[in-house]
Amino acid sequence: MKKRTADAIVIGGGIIGAATGYYLAKQGLKVILLERNFPCAGSTGRCIGGIRAQFTHDLTIRVMLKSIKMFMELDSELGEDIEWYAGGYLFLAFDEERKKSFLQAIEIQRRYGLKVDFISPDECARIVPGLNQEGLLGGAWCPTDGQANPFKVTYGYLKGMERLGSKVITDSEVKRINIQGDKVVSVVTQTGDEFYAPVVLNAAGPWAEGVAQLAGVFLPVKPDRHEALVTEAVERCLEPMLVDYRSDGCYFVQHYKTGHFIGCYTPVPIVPGDRIDASDEFITEMPRRMVRLLPKLASVKVLRQWAGSYEMSPDGNPICGRTPVEGFYVAAGMSGHGFMFGPALGYLMAELITTGKSSIDISEFRLDRSFAKAEAMK
């Protein structure tokens, strides 16, 4: 059983842990990142890679504007092609109520300089040739949203951390968090190895509630199951992420480089728990929804279906910041947006941890908030 010391310990090798670990290491901290399985084995490696600033919560929009700026520069930052592409996001409205909520969201988003418009069905079909316009009232269109490769980004951050002298340890599950007085002291993994640091970050995604419990902290984060599929690669014919918010809707995008279509939907009702088996219902329902929106996809073949967890907070916004235990931080509850938040929240968390405050004030995401104001563009 080894004993090791560091300036900070990060629990979780997904995008949030990797990005925060990287920016902490960049600030000169010696970081040890503990991943219980392998990097990207949780939610990050199962997400479809969409990135957007079209949200309704002011802080979320500001964080995403920063994140998108960072995604645009990540290739040179990490020395890795992270496959960022600004193909835009098109949210479709099929009823007046949805149209109204998009118009309200656009008003908020424009305050922060986001280039976003409500466009007519014909304009939607110009952006998405072959789009089925039946019942369509228009769409919220933002051309600066985009996509990137979650594996490349996460591995890029982890390799970057290692270059900066920090360590990534896989197959290491944290089983105990030791606290003295009200301060975090060390964590112990399943092998009995003990890692000492004055700072411990809980970035355990769908399992963050359990990790918080080890420190005696209550964290309201619950996983639910989301399924996805990917098709064979075909000639490029869809630029943006297409989002259909109807209860039997779906969202999908074509990877700009490889030509695969990748997509998912939010089941109604939700499927709670961290089970991530694939269902027969999804593999028939998702194609029906995709072909309904874009009939020309009928001949494209599905290669694979899988599932992953959304780690939901009560209001659909992240939970980031301090906890009642000194030195024990949390960055979890990403509610399906962890990958896109990753660069900005990782950067801001690193600032918060090293200087006590972040350049964008993220205190609205603190653990002891009321959770009353829900995000409408989940």
Binding site: C40, E232, T258, E281, I283, A298, V300, L303, R304, Q305
Partner: protein, 97 residues
């Protein structure tokens, strides 16, 4: 035995060569799961049936981790690629209802 100088394709679906796999292992990607994520091996039409065992042997050669000790990615449905239109025409609820 002398190796051919021509590139050896180990993953036909994604056209990944032996050299590319060895380079990934040398960069620190020691498992099938990680190599799958960085090179797309096993993510193509065959779902890994053709390449995973070959790559497992390359991992053993490069790192000494025996094939039997390696974790294999799980197989995902459908076993064979099926058209969206065909899947869409299947009435799941009627059949299972």
């Amino acid at each position: 035995m002398k190796r051919s100088k021509r590139p050896v394709i180990v993953c036909r679906c994604e056209e990944i060569t032996e050299d590319e796999v060895r380079r990934a292992i040398k960069r620190g990607y020691y498992s099938l799961e990680e190599i799958k994520r960085v090179l797309r091996t096993g993510m193509g039409h065959c779902g890994g049936r053709g390449c995973l065992k070959i790559i497992a042997r390359l991992i053993e050669e490069e790192t000494g981790i025996p094939v039997a000790k390696q974790r294999f990615p799980c197989s995902r449905p459908p076993l064979k690629p099926l058209a969206l239109g065909l899947l869409a025409s299947y009435k799941y609820e009627e059949k299972n209802g």
